[in-house]
C-alpha cells in the first residue's frame, strides 16, 4: 500500500523537478561542498569517492546514503586550495573513471578474442 514503485530506485522524477546533481557549498569549511546525486547508489558512489581520494588535490572526500529508502548520495569534497573548486576535481575524477572504463572495455574485448582464437571456440577450428 505504501510501497513506492520499484522504478523509483533508478528513474529520475523529472515531473517533480528532481535533478540528477545539485551542489551546496559548505559554509563553515573553506574549499568544501556537498554534491547530492539523485537515483544513485554505492555502485557509482564508492567508485567516484575512491577515485577522488587518489587525487592529491583533494583533502577530504566521503560519501554517504542518508537514508536507505531514499535513493540519494551525498558526496562531500574538500580541496586543498581555493584555486581548484570541488566541482573541477569531481569532473576530473569522473573523466578519469570514464577513460579507465574505456581501457577496460578494450582490454576485455581483446582478451576474449585472444582466448577464443587460442581455444578455437565457435566451431571454427574443425577444418
Amino acid at each position: 500500500m505504501n510501497a513506492p514503485e520499484r522504478s523509483a530506485a533508478f528513474l529520475l522524477d523529472e515531473d517533480n523537478g528532481e535533478e540528477k546533481v545539485t551542489y551546496a557549498s559548505d559554509t563553515k569549511v573553506s574549499n568544501a561542498g556537498t554534491f547530492t546525486f539523485n537515483k544513485e547508489d554505492h555502485t557509482l558512489g564508492n567508485l567516484v569517492r575512491m577515485q577522488l581520494l587518489r587525487d592529491p588535490n583533494v583533502r577530504f572526500a566521503g560519501y554517504k546514503i542518508p537514508h536507505p529508502l531514499v535513493h540519494q548520495i551525498d558526496l562531500k569534497i574538500q580541496t586543498i586550495s581555493s584555486t581548484l573548486a570541488p566541482i573541477d576535481v569531481l569532473l576530473n575524477a569522473v573523466e578519469d573513471l570514464g577513460d579507465e572504463t574505456d581501457t577496460l572495455n578494450r582490454e576485455a574485448e581483446d582478451a576474449i578474442e585472444r582466448w577464443k582464437k587460442e581455444n578455437n571456440a565457435g566451431g571454427m577450428g574443425q577444418f
Binding site: 533508478f10 546533481v21 555502485t43 576530473n92 572504463t101 576474449i112
Partner: protein, 328 residues
C-alpha cells in the same frame, strides 16, 4: 588525464554459460561496481504482461504468470549464435513512442496447450491417456524469431534432461491453458526476473609470502605439519630441496583460512617473531566468476556491464558539466 589507471584483463575460461577472468591493476571499487552492475543493471528481456484466455490447470493465473516471468529469454543477434545484448535491438517500454506495445519494445509469446487435443495428436497408447504431462517453455511460441526462451543452460544439460524445457505447469485430462505473454526489456533493480546472472562474484588473488630465513629453522616434520594444516592445499614440500613452496594452483584454491596462523603461533619461539608464511588478500587483483542464466552468453554479460558503466559515467559527467555551466 591525471590519475587514470590502466586495468588488465586475463581470461581464465569461457563457456557459454560461465566466464572466469582475472582483473588486475584496478581497485576494489571498480571490481565491486562491475559486480553490482552485472547483477542489477544489465538490461535483459523477460515476460512482463500475461493475458489469460483459458486456464483450467491446477495453478492459478498469477502463479503461472510469476513462473512465466522468471523464464530467461534469449535474444540472438542476427549475425551470432548465442544470447546477446538486447540493448540496441529493443527500446525500454517507457521510452517507446508507441501507444501500448509494438515490435520495437515488446516481444509477444503465445501458449496454447489443451490436454485432450495434445493426447490425440501424440497418439498416446490407451492405458497412458490419463497421465499428466508438463507444459514447458518449449511450448511458448515467439512472435520474433530472434527472441526465444532459453530452455537450457548448455548443450550438456539439454542432453541430460528428460524435459523439453523449463517446466511451467503440469496438465491433466480436461485441462486447458491458453495465454498470451508480452516480454519487455528491463533491469534487475526493478524485478529480479531481469537479472542476467545466476552468480556474479569475485575473490581476491592471494599473496603468499614465505619467509625463507624463518622456515630454515623449522624441522622437516614441522614443515610437513604446516603444509598439511591448510585445508586449501596452497603449500607443498619441494621434492628436491625439502623447502616449503607455494603450490602451482594455490591462487585457485586459496580460501584464506586461519589454520596456518594458529599453527604458526604455536610453532614460534617467541610470540612477536615474524610469521613463517603469510597469506594476504591482494588489493588490486581479482578473480571474477560470472555464471549466466542462459539468457545471455557470459562474455556478453561482462561486455554489457562495461558498456552500462561507461554510459552512466558519461551521463554523470554531462550532468556535472551542466551544473558547472549553470553557475551552480
Amino acid at each position: 588525464m591525471p590519475h587514470q589507471r590502466f586495468p588488465k584483463v586475463e581470461i581464465l575460461s569461457i563457456q557459454p554459460h560461465e566466464i572466469q577472468f582475472l582483473l588486475s591493476d584496478t581497485d576494489t571499487s571498480m571490481a565491486n561496481a562491475l559486480r553490482r552492475i552485472m547483477i542489477a543493471e544489465v538490461p535483459t528481456l523477460a515476460i512482463d504482461l500475461v493475458e489469460f484466455h483459458e486456464n483450467t490447470t491446477v495453478l492459478n493465473d498469477e502463479y503461472i504468470a510469476h513462473r512465466l516471468g522468471l523464464i530467461p529469454i534469449k535474444y540472438t543477434p542476427p549475425d551470432s549464435m548465442g544470447g546477446g545484448d538486447c540493448n540496441g535491438a529493443f527500446l525500454p517500454h517507457r521510452e517507446c513512442v508507441c501507444y501500448e506495445r509494438c515490435p520495437r519494445c515488446c516481444v509477444e509469446f503465445e501458449l496454447d496447450v489443451n490436454f485432450d487435443a495434445t493426447i490425440r495428436e501424440r497418439q498416446v497408447p490407451e492405458h497412458e491417456r490419463c497421465l499428466p504431462f508438463t507444459i514447458t517453455s518449449a511450448d511458448l511460441r515467439s512472435s520474433n524469431d530472434l527472441v526465444q526462451p532459453a530452455h537450457f543452460l548448455s548443450l550438456e544439460e539439454e542432453g541430460a534432461s528428460h524435459d523439453q524445457g523449463i517446466s511451467i505447469v503440469k496438465i491433466g485430462p480436461g485441462q486447458h491453458l491458453k495465454l498470451k505473454a508480452i516480454a519487455r526489456m528491463g533491469i534487475s533493480k526493478e524485478h529480479a526476473k531481469w537479472s542476467p546472472v545466476a552468480v556474479a562474484t569475485y575473490r581476491f588473488y592471494p599473496i603468499i609470502n614465505i619467509n625463507e630465513e624463518a622456515c630454515s629453522t623449522l624441522t622437516q616434520e614441522q614443515k610437513q605439519q604446516l603444509v598439511d594444516v591448510c585445508p586449501d592445499r596452497i603449500l607443498e614440500i619441494d621434492a628436491v630441496s625439502g623447502k616449503i613452496v607455494v603450490s602451482e594452483h594455490a591462487w585457485e584454491t586459496a580460501t584464506f583460512t586461519e589454520d596456518l596462523k594458529i599453527t604458526q603461533s604455536a610453532m614460534k619461539k617467541r610470540p612477536e617473531d615474524d610469521d613463517f608464511i603469510t597469506v594476504e588478500h591482494s588489493t588490486d587483483r581479482f578473480i571474477f566468476s560470472v555464471e549466466g542464466t542462459g539468457a545471455m552468453d557470459a562474455e556478453e554479460i561482462v561486455m554489457s556491464s562495461l558498456r552500462v558503466l561507461k554510459d552512466r559515467l558519461h551521463y554523470l559527467g554531462n550532468m556535472i558539466e551542466a551544473l558547472k555551466e549553470s553557475g551552480m
